[in-house]
């Protein structure tokens, strides 16, 4: 049977589509990220792009925040200039996969060290200990902690467990599910929502952005140890990053960065944590 011109064109387009779907190879980077940094003088680091105070893409297209500062410091210690860092956005649900696939060399993105995650990736650090906390309107005196949330409206971001944890403990809480934290803030400001819960670092970033409007309740009710996520088995990389974090904490850059990004909200910056992931 002769294939007509059109059918052939159609087949070509379909196979192109298939090829498009199939391509997108993942380079399975082998060896330690330390060697990669030394040889290429380049690093790809995963951060958040949408969290004020931690990792935020500024209107100028640059990146700023505490996580970004930590990442830059580590890169510097590994011999990579800040200009040679490729920043990648790492959504919470994809962080383990992105490390395993070698799409990022390491991740500094409010990445809590948990046993479940440790089955898939290795952590260095922690470089910060955050606590789950509540963000409320500055003039709201009725909420003093999670136990006073009964009957209140709590904003929750789908895929995040922090609000669900509160709801499980205090079933009287009403949850408003939205897709991103910025949607929560509008409602919190107007009074349609009473509280927003997640790590105090993230909340402090939001509070600092609009001074005087919101406050942290300040009763942290869990410990979130932020670690630097990297490929499982890269002990050399982990030791190097740990050394970098240690140095950052002792030479004062850690405190400077923390004060710069968390200070304005009235958040008391704790002492740097001891490194446990060795």
């Amino acid at each position: 049977m002769r294939l007509s011109r059109l059918a052939r064109a159609g087949v070509a387009v379909v196979s192109l589509a298939v090829a498009l779907t199939a391509c997108g190879s993942r380079d399975e980077g082998s060896g330690s990220l330390v060697d990669k940094a030394k040889n290429d003088k380049k690093l790809t680091i995963g951060i958040k792009f949408d969290q004020p105070g931690l990792g935020l893409q500024t209107p100028g297209g640059a990146y700023e925040g505490f996580d970004v500062e930590v990442a830059k410091y580590i890169a510097k210690e590994l011999g990579v200039d800040a200009n040679n860092i490729t920043w990648k956005q790492t959504p919470s649900s994809q962080r383990e996969d992105m490390i395993a696939n070698g799409q990022v060399d390491f991740i500094v993105a409010t990445y809590s060290i948990t046993d479940k995650r440790k089955q898939k990736v290795d952590f260095a650090g922690p470089y910060f200990i955050a606590h789950q906390d509540l963000l409320v309107r500055a003039d709201d005196k009725s909420i003093t902690g999670p136990d006073s949330l009964s009957g209140k409206k709590l904003c929750s971001v789908q895929g995040s467990t922090s609000a669900q944890k509160v709801k499980d403990k205090f079933p009287q809480v009403q949850l408003q599910n939205v897709k991103g934290y910025s949607e929560c803030l509008t409602g919190l400001e107007s009074g349609a929502i009473d509280a927003l819960t997640t790590d105090d670092t993230i909340l402090a970033g939001y509070a600092a952005q609009q001074p005087g409007k919101f406050k942290l309740v300040g009763k942290g009710f869990s410990d979130e140890k932020y670690g630097v996520g990297l490929k499982k088995g890269d002990t050399k990389g982990r030791d190097a990053i740990n050394a970098a974090i240690q140095k950052m904490e002792t030479d004062g850059s850690w405190k400077t960065a923390a004060d710069k990004y968390f200070g304005p909200s009235g958040y008391t910056v704790p002492a740097p944590p001891a490194i446990t992931e060795k």
């Binding site: 893409q57 209107p59 910025s182």
Partner: protein, 295 residues
């Protein structure tokens, strides 16, 4: 259309004109009341503060860093979808016209299935499918998922457009081709399809409007950086959710309105060219279509 308007009522006389003016005034007052309420509420919530709106005019970075790249994301996803969906739609549309049952029936089942399912379900499924079973880089998974969902859905819609386009041709066209001794494939590709494409063009353009709107859905839910999703980054940077949504809506309306106008312009042009002898596939019919029903 203009005919339908005029036949429903008599040309207004002096009394009717007065009454129309009265209705207009009442309506304007009602609208003004709603607008006044909205404005007062917005002002009350400090949403009308100049600082929240000014960035869109004075700070070009709002556009260069967030909105235009977002629009670019929308355009990329929409164009990829339509370019891939068209040939697939053509193949399935022709397959549904096949005289072989074993081609026609499976093609119909596939088309009806994907038209019966919400495009969001397809996108969410594709998203997790690519995450778990493919080597697509994760930062492009959302784009791939959106395009896959849109291709599956719009491919099946376009299949119906193609089918209707071919069926809209006068029977004589295929008969004349047969009389000349053309094979079925030749008739289809040399005679029927080229004519059907012109008949389908307006419908295809207006389908683009649907696709553009659906990229916003996929982007918002799956986190692909298209125009609507950028509302988050903009309001993170400037704390101005409402103004951002208003401006993003404006961009969408302008783009889609232009596309709709193009579709109806094409339709008129094509219809006039052949002086009513030829039908076009009505672009309005495509947008929302029931499975299990013929066009």
């Amino acid at each position: 259309m203009s005919k339908a308007i005029s036949i429903l009522y008599d040309a207004p006389g002096p009394k009717a004109k007065q009454r129309n003016i009265l209705y207009s005034i009442v309506f304007v007052l009602a609208l003004a009341a709603v607008a006044w309420w909205i404005v007062t509420m917005l002002a009350d919530k400090h949403q009308l503060d100049a600082a929240k709106w000014k960035p869109f005019v004075t700070d070009s970075r709002v556009w260069t860093t967030y909105l235009l790249p977002g629009l670019q994301g929308t355009v990329i996803a929409a164009l990829l979808s339509v370019v891939i969906a068209l040939p697939i739609g053509a193949i399935f549309g022709i397959a549904r016209l096949s005289e072989h049952v074993w081609i026609r029936v499976p093609a119909s089942v596939v088309v009806e299935f994907f038209r019966a399912i919400p495009v969001l379900i397809l996108m969410v499924f594709a998203n997790y499918f690519f995450v778990h079973y493919s080597s697509v880089p994760l930062e492009s998974v959302a784009l791939f998922a959106i395009v896959t969902g849109l291709v599956l859905y719009n491919g099946s819609v376009l299949a119906e457009v193609v089918r209707a386009g071919i069926l809209s041709l006068p029977k004589g066209q295929a008969e004349a081709a047969a009389a000349l001794g053309m094979r079925k494939t030749q008739t289809m590709t040399l005679i029927q399809l080229p004519q059907a494409v012109t008949a389908m063009l307006p419908a295809i353009v207006s389908q683009l409007v649907v696709i553009v709107k659906d990229t916003a859905l996929g982007g918002y839910i799956l986190g692909y950086a298209e125009l609507l999703t950028q509302s988050r980054t903009v309001s993170n940077a400037y704390s101005n959710t409402i103004p951002t949504l208003v401006f993003i809506a404006l961009v969408f309306i302008v783009v889609n309105f232009a596309l709709s106008q193009l579709a109806s312009w094409l339709e008129n042009k094509l219809r006039n060219r052949t002086k009513g002898n030829r039908t076009t596939v009505n672009p309005e019919m495509v947008e929302e279509q029931a499975p299990g029903m013929k066009m």
